[in-house]
Symmetry: C2
Subunit: 214 residues, 2 copies
DNA sequence: TAGATTGTTAATCGATTAACAATC
DNA sequence: TAGATTGTTAATCGATTAACAATC
């Protein structure tokens, strides 16, 4: 039973996918139940934090027993929206776009990738891993025809903002942004943006491996 | 002049690449100086936070004037280690590996990508964007021969932990992990790990676009 | 000089950790 | 029943914001 979700903090939300991942591993390893302290050790968190986090959504455990792994995994999946099917398209069928289409298990996370869009005449009209590639000019018509919730943005940086706005105008709810551009949230009201900034990540790594000595 | 770096918190460090990005944009737009409040507006932060963040590393501004954009950009670059050349190799030359090699501007961030490793006989022995692809069996010998600081991990999940340990044994300082596997930091002492978890990011987006109504 | 803006100290806010009564 | 472990309330810790003297 889920609590009314008043206002769950971002740090908690960002830990949920990790909970899911660990619970899924445990489940597939045949583990039936786990206590918050065992899970904490497993994940490198504190038991307190886990109980605090989960209590944002409801009481999923049982005193003296702990949590049923399969049930908790299911609850977390539901909280994350994995129990519904989300439609998605991908913008840009270059190297990165292809890599995502061919390797990323969208359906495993509840997503259905229905189309890719590009401008390269060599790829437009083909299929990649069963996903048809349409010309970007047809984006508006496509979005009108199909209810698409998420657009994965793997276009070149100079096209990012323009394409993002076209997605928004087409009614998309979320943008999964792989460009190194910071999308202007002010110009994209109502759209949730999730960034994967490769460069920021590499520079963070650079910081740590560069620490003294000179 | 840089302060002794006592202990800078992770949130601050993770904001540094964003500072760099914005300062670089401003610089290229011809902006010479900027106040903390203008930069704050620009980035969606508070002026206080910016001054607080920067003061972890030194006093880069001037009362009544603000910050010199080019100088501050340089300071942030130096803090991030962008003024040095870092060597890197990439493990796994599949779709994602290729995408990184061909599209990611390593040198722009101070990195020199010297080699890729794979096991596929079709790609081993070839070059991708000027980067030679060697057989993974030769990794140890290569790492002994060349001082490599970072390994970008784009191998299939089942190989991730094993390859990570080989990188560590070979003396690598950091691992840029693109697999959806959580690398066991306990087994990788002394190695800094920076994760790009596509799935976690998409699930976070899923959470937000799934919020009520059912 | 007067106005602007820093760097830093103090105040507030939020997130994590600890403690414990409830209870399986 | 006794032992284990939850969910929640209270305490602590850390990060962000506000305030202001210093000074360009």
């Amino acid at each position: 039973m889920r609590k009314e979700k008043e206002k769950v903090s971002l740090p908690v939300i960002r830990r949920l996918p990790r909970y899911y991942r660990h619970l899924d591993d445990l489940h597939r390893a045949g583990v039936e139940r786990i206590s918050s302290s065992a899970l904490a050790q497993n994940m490198g968190l504190t038991a307190s934090q886990i109980r605090q986090d989960l209590s944002c959504f409801g009481g999923f455990g049982q005193q003296g027993y702990g949590y049923n792994v399969e049930r908790l995994r299911g609850e977390v999946a539901e909280i994350l929206g994995m129990d519904r099917v989300h439609t998605a398209v991908i913008l840009g069928a270059g190297n990165l776009g292809r890599a995502l289409i061919q390797n990323f298990p969208f359906q495993k996370y509840g997503f259905q990738l229905t189309a890719a869009f590009d401008v390269d005449p060599k790829t437009v009209g083909t299929q990649i891993g069963g996903v048809p590639v349409f010309h970007a000019d047809g984006l508006e018509a496509y979005l009108k025809e199909h209810a698409i919730e998420v657009g994965a943005l793997t276009v070149p940086g100079h096209a990012a903002v323009r394409v993002a706005q076209r997605l928004r105008d087409g009614g998309v709810k979320g943008i999964w942004n792989f460009t190194n551009i910071e999308l202007p949230e002010a110009d994209l009201p109502g759209v949730r943006i999730e960034n994967i900034h490769f460069a920021d990540s590499l520079l963070t790594l650079s910081y740590f491996i560069s620490e003294e000595p000179l």
